[in-house]
Structures are given as C-alpha cells and as structure tokens.
C-alpha cells in the first residue's frame, strides 16, 4: 500500500506566490527587529532630553555648556532651553512615526502568518525562536 498521509508535509507544493509570501514575511520580520532597536534608541534619547530639560530648570548658571558636535559650547540658558525643546519635539515625532510603522508591520505580519499557516500548517514555523 502506498503511504497516503501528509507525513510532515513532505509532499507540500510550494508555488512562486508562496515563496514571495515567505520572502515578504522575512523582510517584515527583519524590519520589525530593526524598528525595535530604533524605537529603543529614540526612547532613550527622548528620556535624556527630558532629564536635561529638568536639570536645566534646576540649574542657576547663566551659561550652560551645550554639546554641539564634539565640543561643549558656552550657550546662554534660554537658547539651550529652546534647543532642547526643539530636539525633544523632533525626537518625539520620530518616535511616534516609528511606533506607527511597527504597528502596521505587526498587523501585516499577522495577516501573512494566517495565509502561510493555512497553506502549510505544520510544515512552516513563523515564530520567534
């Protein structure tokens, strides 16, 4: 008698469309991990700027040493305050954009997972190891 069961999917056909789906999922997964790192970095920067702003309020010197490039320039307190506000705004906007991209990526990946698991069931593993 011939073996007829789908023993560990060794007879599963893989079409070009399936391959493209797998490729796309791989791309999304890579981009997801990159985004996580970028978000961590942006969050840290936001926190640092927040702390810097708070320190500034407590400081009573007129001249603050503000890092521009590789040197610390003596800048009046008000200018520093403005700069930090600008930097905080820019960083927070970037953080928001990154979070949005991550969310859309997660939902797209969930979609693809559904499609791929439907076709391949046990023969494919799309989970994080």
């Amino acid at each position: 008698m011939q073996q007829q069961g789908k023993s560990s999917g060794s007879e599963m056909e893989v079409t070009w469309e399936d391959q493209q789906n797998i490729n796309t999922f791989s791309r999304f997964n890579n981009r997801f991990h990159e985004l996580e790192d970028e978000i961590k970095f942006a969050k840290e920067k936001c926190d640092n700027l927040e702390d810097a702003g708070n320190e500034l309020i407590l400081a009573d010197e007129e001249m603050v040493r503000f890092q521009i490039g590789e040197v610390f320039a003596h800048v009046p307190k008000d200018e520093v305050e403005t700069r930090i506000e600008e930097m905080k705004e820019a960083t927070c906007k970037t953080l928001e954009k990154l979070e949005q991209e991550k969310e859309s990526l997660v939902s797209q990946m969930a979609e693809l997972k559904k499609v791929l698991y439907a076709k391949f069931k046990d023969s494919i593993n799309l989970e994080e190891d």
């Binding site: 011939q2 599963m12 391959q19 791309r27 521009i68 490039g69 590789e70 040197v71 320039a73 003596h74």
Partner: protein, 197 residues
Amino acid sequence: MSSSSSPSGSGADLSERRGIPAAKFIQDVETYLSQSGFDSNSALAFHQERLQQYKVVEMKLLAQQRDLQAKIPDIEKCLEVVATLEARKGTGESLLADFEVSEGIYSRACIEDTDSVCLWLGANVMLEYSCEEATTLLKNNLENAKASLEVLVADLQFLRDQVTVTQVTIARIYNYDVHQRRVKQVTTPTAIAAADS
C-alpha cells in the same frame, strides 16, 4: 535551465543584482532534478554552497551598512557646528567651547568671529572653506551617504530574499529525498512479499 519566475513577480525577476546572482525558484523538485541531472545529494550540496556564498556577501554588506550608519551622524554633527558658527557671524561675539584634549581632560577654546572653517577630508588632508562652501560640501556628502545607504539597504533586501528562496529550496529537496526513500522502503518489502508468496 528553463526560467521559472512568473512575470507577475514584484521586480524579483532580476537574474542578478550588482554582482549577486538570483536564486532560481523551482516550480517542481522532481522536474528540476531530472532536468539538471543532479541527484538529491549533489543538488543539496550545490544549494548549501550557494547559501554560504550569500552569507559571505551579506556579512560584507552589513559591515558597509554599519560604516555608513556611523558616518551619517558625524556629518550631521559637523553641519550643526558650521551652522552655529554661521549664526554667530554677524554678532561679533566669540564662542567659548570646551573640547576634549584627551580622555577626561578638557580645555577651553575661544573661537573668534570668522568667515571660514577647515574641514577634515580624510587622508591627512584638511582644507579651509568659507562657511557657505562648507555647508554646501557637507550637505552634499550627507546626501550621497544617505543615497548610498538606501541602495545598500535595497541590496541587502534582495540578498535576503535570495537566501530565503535558497533555504526553502534546500528544505524542499530534502523533503523530496526523504519522501522518495520512504516510497522505496514501502515498495521494496511489498515486492519481496509478493515474490515470496
């Protein structure tokens, strides 16, 4: 070998990209093996080797990407400094700055109102530029670096796609081989049983 990529592919029909050969997608393992004359083991070996080659290229591209990603913030910092100097130009007041002489040791510099800056171009070469020229040059470098990074990222994505295709191909050939062996195992005892009876 017949081309097996469908015309509806999303730009993935390139046979190679910047020296990286594309991995041909196999529609049917059995046809591929009979057409190419490979048996399972040599096909597996061939694709494994391809995978290794792809990995080597991936390492190289990742290193280049890291370099570029470090370069871009550097250029942005330089632009910031030049912008600050330019902003001070009209006021006539000098800029006091603390800079690092060595680790943990800083010194104070008094930067007079000036029209020109010196830019380090690499290879032990430093040139003096006016503030505007410096800004233009740095902006150009920044644009080029960002464009190179974009191309590099696209290359990496293409490469990773080829790696995925190759890995899936290896899995399919292996599964096909396992399947063939199983079929042979089942039919051979049956033939012996039939011969015995």
